[in-house]
C-alpha cells in the first residue's frame, strides 16, 4: 500500500518520536509513505487567529503540491495539520471565489481530489483487521485511556470524524493491538496545547484534570494521536506536579508507538524512550509470551 505523507513541522522537532514510530509502524505494516516534496507549514492555530485568508492559503500550498505529485490520499498525523488541511478543503469547496483567489496566491492549481487522513483514518483505510493479523506482540494487560483532544473530532461538520462526544475509533485500534481501552470521561476535553507558551498556568490546570481522570479510571497510560496533545501531557506533567504539588507520572503514548510495538518493534525503535515521563518500563515486557 502506497500513501502520501505530510509529517508537519512538529514531527521534525518536538514530536520526532511520533515521526519515528509512524515510520516504523508503516514499515512493519508494509505501507510506503510518500512524503509531499518540499511541504511547508500549515499555519496551525497562528494563521487562523491572525488572518483567515492565510489560514486557507498555507494548507492550500501543500494540497496543491500533493495534487501535483499525483497523490490521492495523504496522511497528516498531526491533528492540527489534518484539521487545517481539511478545513481549507471544505472552505474552498464551499466558496469557489475563495478557491480561485487562493490558487492565484499560491500560484498552483487546486483541481482534483486528495483525501486527507488523520492517523485513525489511515488505520481505518489500511484495515483494523489487517493490522490485527500483523500483530506479533499483543499488548495484553495494557490499559490505555484513548485521548482524542479537540482537533481530531471538532468541528464535527468539518472533520466529519467519528462521534464528537464519545469517539470510539482509537479504542478499536487499541483493542486490535491486544490492549484494553479504559472507559473514561476526558476523551475530547481540551488540553490547551495552543496556549502552551503564553498561558502555562491555564495549561497546567487542563492537563491536570485530564491526567487525574485517566488515573481515576485505572489507565496505565494515555494514548494520543496528536503531537500537541503529547507535548502538553508529557512535558507539562512536571510543571503540573510543581504547580499543584502532586506526583503524576503517567506515561503518554502515541498510538503509532503502540502500533509499532505490537507489530514487533522495540520500544527504542518506536521512540518510546524519548518521552519526558518514563514510558518504556510499562510496555517493555508486553506480549513477549505471544511472540511468534
Amino acid at each position: 500500500m502506497k500513501v502520501g505523507y505530510y509529517p508537519g513541522c512538529s514531527l521534525e522537532g518536538s514530536a520526532s518520536d511520533f515521526g519515528l514510530s509512524i515510520a516504523k509502524a508503516a514499515e512493519l505494516m508494509g505501507v510506503d509513505l510518500v512524503e509531499i516534496s518540499d511541504w511547508s507549514c500549515c499555519g496551525a492555530s497562528a494563521a487562523h487567529s491572525l488572518d483567515h485568508l492565510l489560514s486557507i492559503a498555507l494548507p492550500a500550498r501543500n494540497l496543491a503540491l500533493a495534487l501535483a505529485q499525483g497523490l490521492d490520499q495523504v496522511v497528516a498525523p498531526c491533528a492540527a495539520c489534518s484539521n487545517r488541511l481539511i478545513t481549507a478543503q471544505v472552505e474552498i469547496k464551499a466558496d469557489p471565489d475563495l478557491g480561485a483567489r487562493v490558487e492565484d496566491i499560491v500560484g498552483m492549481s487546486l483541481d482534483g481530489d486528495v483525501r486527507v487522513l488523520n492517523m485513525l483514518d489511515f488505520v481505518d483505510v489500511y484495515g483494523v483487521d489487517t493490522l490485527k493479523e500483523k500483530v506479533t506482540r499483543p499488548l495484553e494487560g495494557f490499559k490505555g485511556a484513548c485521548y482524542y483532544g479537540c482537533l481530531l473530532v471538532r468541528p464535527p461538520k468539518v472533520v466529519q470524524f467519528d462521534d464528537p462526544e464519545d469517539p470510539k475509533s482509537m479504542e478499536r485500534v487499541l483493542t486490535a493491538l491486544g490492549a484494553t481501552p479504559v472507559d473514561w470521561h476526558f476523551k475530547v476535553e481540551c488540553c490547551g496545547a495552543g496556549l502552551t507558551m503564553a498561558q502555562p498556568k491555564i495549561v497546567a490546570r487542563l492537563v491536570r484534570d485530564i491526567l487525574r481522570n485517566a488515573e481515576e479510571n485505572g489507565a496505565d497510560g494515555i494514548v494520543v494521536s496528536c503531537p500537541l496533545c503529547h507535548q502538553n501531557l508529557d512535558m507539562r506533567q512536571l510543571a503540573v506536579n510543581a504547580e499543584y504539588g502532586e506526583t503524576h507520572r503517567l506515561p503518554i503514548y502515541y498510538l503509532s508507538e503502540l502500533m509499532a510495538l505490537a507489530l514487533g518493534a522495540s520500544p527504542k525503535d518506536a521512540g518510546i524512550d524519548r518521552h519526558f515521563i518514563e514510558a518504556t518500563e510499562r510496555v517493555a515486557s508486553l506480549g513477549q509470551s505471544g511472540k511468534k
Binding site: 462521534d163 464528537p164 462526544e165 464519545d166 470521561h185 481522570n213 481515576e216
Partner: protein, 670 residues
Amino acid sequence: MERIGVFICHCGENIGRTVDCAKVAETAGKFRNVVHAVDYKYMCSDPGQAMVRDAIKEKGLTGVVVAACSPRMHEPTFRRAAADAGLNPFLCEMANVREHCSWVHEDVDAATAKATDLIRVMVEKVKQNEPLYPIRVPVTKRALVIGGGIAGIQAALDIADGGHEVVLVEKSPSIGGHMAQLSETFPTLDCSQCILTPRMVEVAQHPNITLHVYSEVEEVNGFIGNFEVKIRHKASSVNNALCTGCGACTQVCPAKKVPSEFDVGLGDRTAIYVPFPQAVPNKPVIDRDHCVRFKAAARKGLPVTEVTTCGKCQEACPIEPVKAIDFSMEDEIITEEVGAIVVATGYELYEKEAVGEYGYGKYPDIIDGLQFERLASASGPTGGVIRRPSDGEIPETVVFVQCVGSRDRAKGLTYCSKICCMYTAKHAMLYKHKVHDGNAWVFYMDIRSGGKGYDEFVRRAVEEDEVKYVRGRVSRIYPEGKKLVVLGADTLSGEKIRIDADLVVLATAISASKGVETLAQKLGVSYDQYNFLSEAHPKLRPVETASAGVFLAGACQAARDIPDAVAQASGAASKVQVLLSSEELEREPVVARVDENTCVGCFCCESVCAYGAVERKEIRDRSGNLVKTLAYVNPGVCQGCGTCVATCRSNSIDLAGYTDKQVFNEIRAL
C-alpha cells in the same frame, strides 16, 4: 346567453397595494359575457356581499366571479351570498388574487396583469358551471377514539355522556396513558392517580363505551359520517370474558425481571402482567417476547400449545373448567363502523440516549422526567422515596436540566415543549418536600409559566422551597467517583458553574409518538416535520383536521399539559356530537358521473378508485336479458378526486365542478 358579474376586492391594502383593482375591474368589464365588473374595499363585508346580491338580482347574472382571497377563506361566504340572491351557489367562483398574487409579488404591473388573467380564467370556467345540489349522506351515530390517555378518556366520556356510542382503542394493556404514571400534578400538587382512576373506571363501566385495549387501528376506509375501521386486537393470551383479574397468574410467573414500561425501566414486572395495580381493565396480558413458554416454543420452532415448558400461570388460574389463560389465542381483527374519529395518541419523551454531552443515557443516575415521576410516586418502585437508580441512595444534590432536546436546532427540535418549566418546578418541589436538607438546582433558559396559578407555583419553588434556579444551559455531565459532575453556566452573573450532583433529571423534549405518521396516513391527516398532527386551522379550527370527520385531542397535535389536553378533548368531543346530532350530512356535490351512453364497461375507473365508489350496473332489456354492464359511481361514496375521469378510456366520466369543459375553458383563457 351568459351574464357574468366580476367583483374585485381590495382587501383593504392587502390586494390594493400591489394590484391596481380599479384597472382590473375596467379590463374585466370588457371580457365577453361580463355584464358587470366592480371593485370594492372589502367584498366580504356586509355591504360588499350586498353588492353581489344586488347585482345578481338587478343584472340577472348567470355566474359570479369574486376576485379576492383564497377560496379556502371566503368561498362559502360568497356562495351563500349568491344563494341568498337566488343564484345556485355553484355558479359562484373565486379568483385568488391575494394569496396567489398580491401577497407574493411586488411589481404592480406584473401583479395587476396576473390578477386580470386569473379573473379571465375564472370567468371562462364559470361560463361552463352548472347548478349543483348538495348530496345527502346518512351518518353512523358512533365515534371512534384512538388513544386511552387523559385526552382520549375525556373525549370518550363526553361523547358517551352525550348519548352516542364510543369505541375507544388503546394500544397498551390499560388505559390511563402518561397521566397514570405521574405522581402529583402542577400547580395544585394533587395526586394524579387520585383524580384519574375514577375517570378510568367510568370509561370501563359506561354503557355507551366499547373498550379495546391492547389493540391498534389497522385500516380506515370510508369518509365523514361513514367510516369503516379495522382494529387489530393483539393476542393477550388471556380471555377477558373469563378472567376475574385475581392476579394468581402473575404471582407464579417465573420471568420476574422484565423492565416495567410503566415504571420506565426503574422497576420490574413479570411476563404475564397487569401494567399497574389500578389498570383498566384489570386483566393481565402475556408479553410473548419474555414468556418462558413462548420463548421455548420459538426456540423449538413448535406451536406454543405443543410445548410443555412452564405454563405455571395457566395452572394457577382458578377459573374452571376452562382456564382464562389461552396460549393459543391469536390476533383478532374487529371491524367497527363509526361516523367520526378522534385521534388522541399522545406523546413520547425525546430519548436521552441521543444526547452525547450528557452521556448518551449511559449513566443510571441521569434520568428523565417520567422516571422521576415514578421515583416520586407512592405507587412507584421506591414507594415514593427519592432514591437514585445506581445504588438506591437518597440524593443530597439533584440537578434538573430544562430544554433537553427542546429549542435545540442542533438536535433537530426547534420548538418549546411547553410543559417542562412547570413539571421541573414541580419535581424540584417534590424533592425538597421529601428531602428537606437536600439541594435542588434547576438550569433553565427561560421560565414559561403562562397559565392559571403557574407562575405563582414557580415562584413558590424558588421562594418557599429554596429551589436554586440558574439561568443557563448545561454543557456536559460526566461521572467522577460516586458523583455526577454537571458543568453549567449562570448567564446572569456570567459565572461558569460546576455542581457535583447525586442525581440529574433531564427535562427531555415532548416528541410525537413513534409510528403516528402511519396512522395519520391511514386517516388522511397531515402532520408537521416533527410528526405532530396538523389541525385544520391554527387559530379557528384547532381540533379539526383537513380530513373531514377526523378530530384531534391532546399531545398528538402539540405539547400539552393536562388542562389543555382535557379542554381540547372536550372541544373535539363537542365537534363530534355536532356531527352525530344530524341524521344526514350535506356533502359538496363534487362527484364523478358516468355517461351511460358512451361507457364501454372496461372498469378502469373501478381499479383506480380508492373508495370503492365505482359499482357495476347491469342494463337489461324489457325481457330482462343482460344487455351490458356499466360503471356507476355511488355519489355517497365518491370523494371527487377525479382520478377515474382522467383514467377513463372512453372519456365517459366527468367530475362535477371540474368538468373537462370547465378546465379546458380555463386553459384556453390563458
